[in-house]
């Protein structure tokens, strides 16, 4: 069931079995159960399956984009992948090692190799520390000797910030600058994997583009792998090699970014693409945006979770759970009618730029 990491663009000169992917999630589930007296009193006993049997992998230097609406479970997935949220079932492995079973020293090492850039940079930077201290803190925590450290100046240069900001406090930074400090902090430990949660949310278009360029450049230079979580499909379309589309805790489609974009097989992916406003799409050719909203994960619809909003839904979709099946090599889709969807042509987005 696992998506095999496959990148035709990368030379594969090692003979023998391919190395395990850097990050692998196998049938991962995260369930939040209401407990405690308050929940009992409220009669609120229903568990929420935020992540529901997700299998994904990220290889070295690969960018996997996870897309979905709020409530699709993508942030919980990211947290579980980094052991910042306990998985209810399933397995996370990093470079072949089981993350869930790691002991103290191994976890410490894992925290160096896999880091997170949080969505809101201002709330993830201590307001009482100067930028220079914020950038040195990871070295103190991880007892890293001076010969393995980047200097503050080097780090600021990497994220294209002027050196004079070293003495600033977070509140003195603009949104884009704070985001860059967050990225610089993630880079201090030379991680192999960076998980970025909505890296451009809340930024002006120019600042957002600069951040995307920066992430792209860092990946080219350091070979860092990324797991990028976003609801903005154009961000993922620009940055990612592969895309996984999530809906109500499940992966409904995966594949190479261009293929998913140009030829979406799942009706939900089509809806997401058709919803992108603007320049790429002709206003005249616009279809009706997808109706309704993502339902509560507390009470997901039967069968295919997407059926109440799906223009392709038939009776079978209300009762049968669609499995994630291989539609083409490296391409998976969870839809009973994906062949019909594929035949229906591309959604209302022109292919021009």
């Amino acid at each position: 069931m696992t998506t095999t990491a496959h990148d035709p663009g990368r030379p594969d000169d090692t003979a023998g079995p391919p190395p395990p992917p850097l990050l692998r999630l196998e049938d991962l589930s995260v369930t939040f159960s209401p407990d405690g007296a308050l929940a009992r009193l409220a009669g609120n006993r229903r568990a929420v399956r935020a992540v529901d049997g997700v299998s994904l992998s990220v290889s070295d230097a690969e960018v996997l984009g996870v897309v979905g609406e709020s409530g699709s479970g993508k942030t919980t997935l990211a947290l579980a992948a980094l052991r910042l949220q306990r998985a209810t079932s399933g397995r996370v492995s990093f470079a072949g090692a089981d993350v869930g079973g790691m002991r103290r020293e191994a976890v410490r090492r894992f925290r160096r190799d896999a880091v997170m850039i949080f969505q809101d940079p201002h709330s993830s930077l201590s307001p009482r520390m100067r930028v220079s201290s914020l950038l040195r803190e990871p070295y103190v925590i991880h007892h890293i000797g001076p010969d393995e450290q980047y200097s503050v100046a080097e780090l600021l240069r990497m994220v294209e910030l002027p050196e004079r900001l070293a003495d600033s406090y977070p509140h003195e930074l603009s949104g884009g600058q704070a985001r860059r400090v967050g990225i610089a902090r993630a880079l201090t430990l030379r991680p192999r994997l960076i998980v970025a949660d909505e890296p451009t949310a809340g930024l002006d278009v120019s600042a957002a583009s600069a951040i995307l360029n920066l992430l792209q450049a860092l990946r080219d230079e350091h070979g860092t792998a990324y797991l990028v979580i976003t609801h903005a499909l154009n961000v993922v379309g620009y940055l990612a090699d592969r895309i996984a589309v999530m809906y109500l805790g499940r992966v409904v489609e995966t594949g190479a970014a261009e293929e998913v974009y140009d030829n979406p097989l799942h009706p939900y992916t089509r809806a997401l693409i058709a919803s992108i406003p603007g320049m790429d799409s002709g206003r005249a050719s616009r279809q009706q945006p997808v109706a309704g909203e993502i339902p509560s994960p507390r009470n997901p619809p039967s069968g295919c979770h997407f059926h109440p909003r799906c223009p392709f839904a038939v009776d079978r979709c209300r009762s049968d759970d669609p499995p994630l099946e291989e539609a083409a090599p490296g391409r998976q889709v969870a839809c009973l009618r994906w062949r019909d969807v594929a035949d229906a042509g591309s959604p209302a987005v022109s292919h021009g730029g």
Partner: protein
């Protein structure tokens, strides 16, 4: 009050802003956020007001209803509604009536605009009650209620009756924005100002809200001023675009024309920075530097420090707005044949390079 005689015709000026100067007091110094803005909106238009954070677009929107924060003030200029009422000089009572009846506003975050402690129904009714003056009889209350549910249905909330008894926190972001829109429509305004109404929403919900605004605009003959930093949203819903930078209108014109052939380097740069699939594999364009601080005096073009076409004249002389090609008005020396800018190819027509000291 002040309703028009006869039916309003398309093409009337709904909002006419002239020489609007807005200042904010900040620790001793006055920050001139808008240095004298002119903007005209005609009936039936959807105008997109775009710019980066700090461009003054929200200030302009707030000033139109005199909703500026306490440290802000309108220092000069006129804001004329319907060619009759000057918002800057009306009494408090007149202003209270204008808000909602002539011009209504919806904001980015409906959760902070709705009162968390009252049910939707109560808040929908309060808006109407506040504008009918005095006490409300039972029959009227009933009427308000009916109107509220009808409005909620109109904005795409079919379970209106049930919704009237819900609290804001029980609704999703998209539903709250719909409720806000319904509330804004309660008093049949002519102009709706929407300040980043979809910026906090998912793409799918955003598409729905944009579709809704388009629908009510058509049904109600509404005029919309749409404030956003997102150019793709402007392309999606607006007829005309007004590009602001550091408090000034840099370019305005028909959306299709301006986006096709932007005349101002800043508009060009903003458009180029939008990530699209065609950019894959190549770096995106960015605009170096930041929006300048608005404290102190400006010399020359405000965009000069970030502009890739900058010349000496741009640093010393402020460009004036001129019509150029696809744009109704563009504020750039490059487009002004009368400027001292060395126009490539047509530099002979330009005046010799003699820049008077500012």
């Amino acid at each position: 009050m002040a309703s028009l005689n006869g039916s309003p015709a398309v093409g009337d000026v709904v909002l006419d802003i002239e020489g609007l100067v807005v200042e904010y007091r900040t620790r001793g110094s006055a920050m001139r956020v808008l240095p004298g803005v002119d903007l005209t909106i005609t009936r039936g238009e959807v105008v997109g007001l775009v710019g980066e954070s700090g461009s003054g677009k929200s200030t302009l929107a707030l000033a139109a209803l005199r909703l500026l924060p306490a440290n802000g003030r309108i220092a000069a200029g006129r804001i004329v509604l319907d060619g009759t009422t000057d918002v800057t000089s009306v009494s408090r009572e007149q202003l209270r009536r204008l808000r909602g009846e002539k011009v209504a506003m919806i904001f980015q975050d409906p959760l902070t605009s709705l009162n968390p402690t009252f049910k939707i129904g109560r808040q929908m009714i309060d808006v109407q009650r506040a504008h009918c003056g005095g006490r409300v009889r039972f029959a009227e209350r009933k009427q308000f209620q009916q109107k509220a549910t009808a409005l909620l249905r109109e904005v795409g909330l079919p379970d209106a009756d049930q919704l009237m008894h819900s609290y804001p926190h029980q609704l999703s972001g998209g539903m709250r924005q719909r409720v806000m829109t319904a509330m804004a429509l309660s008093l049949e305004p002519e102009l709706l100002i929407a300040d980043e109404p979809t910026s906090a929403l998912d793409v799918t919900t955003e598409a729905q809200i944009l579709g809704l605004l388009r629908q009510i605009k058509a049904d109600r003959d509404l005029t919309i001023l749409f404030v956003t930093h997102d150019l793709s949203v402007v392309a999606e819903i607006c007829d005309r675009v007004v590009v602001m930078y550091a408090g000034q209108v840099m370019e305005q014109g028909d959306v299709a024309d301006v986006f096709e052939r932007p005349q101002h380097p800043y508009t060009r740069a903003l458009l180029d920075a939008v990530p699209t699939r065609s950019h894959r594999g190549q770096p995106l364009h960015t605009i170096p530097g930041r929006v300048p601080s608005l404290i102190g005096e400006f010399r020359g073009c405000r965009f000069a420090s970030r502009c890739s076409y900058v010349q000496d004249v741009c640093r010393t002389e402020e460009p004036r707005p001129v019509a150029s090609d696809s744009s109704e008005a563009v504020r750039c020396h490059m487009r002004d044949p009368g400027s001292a800018y060395e126009h490539a190819g047509l530099s002979t027509t330009a005046t010799p390079k003699a820049v008077p000291p500012a």
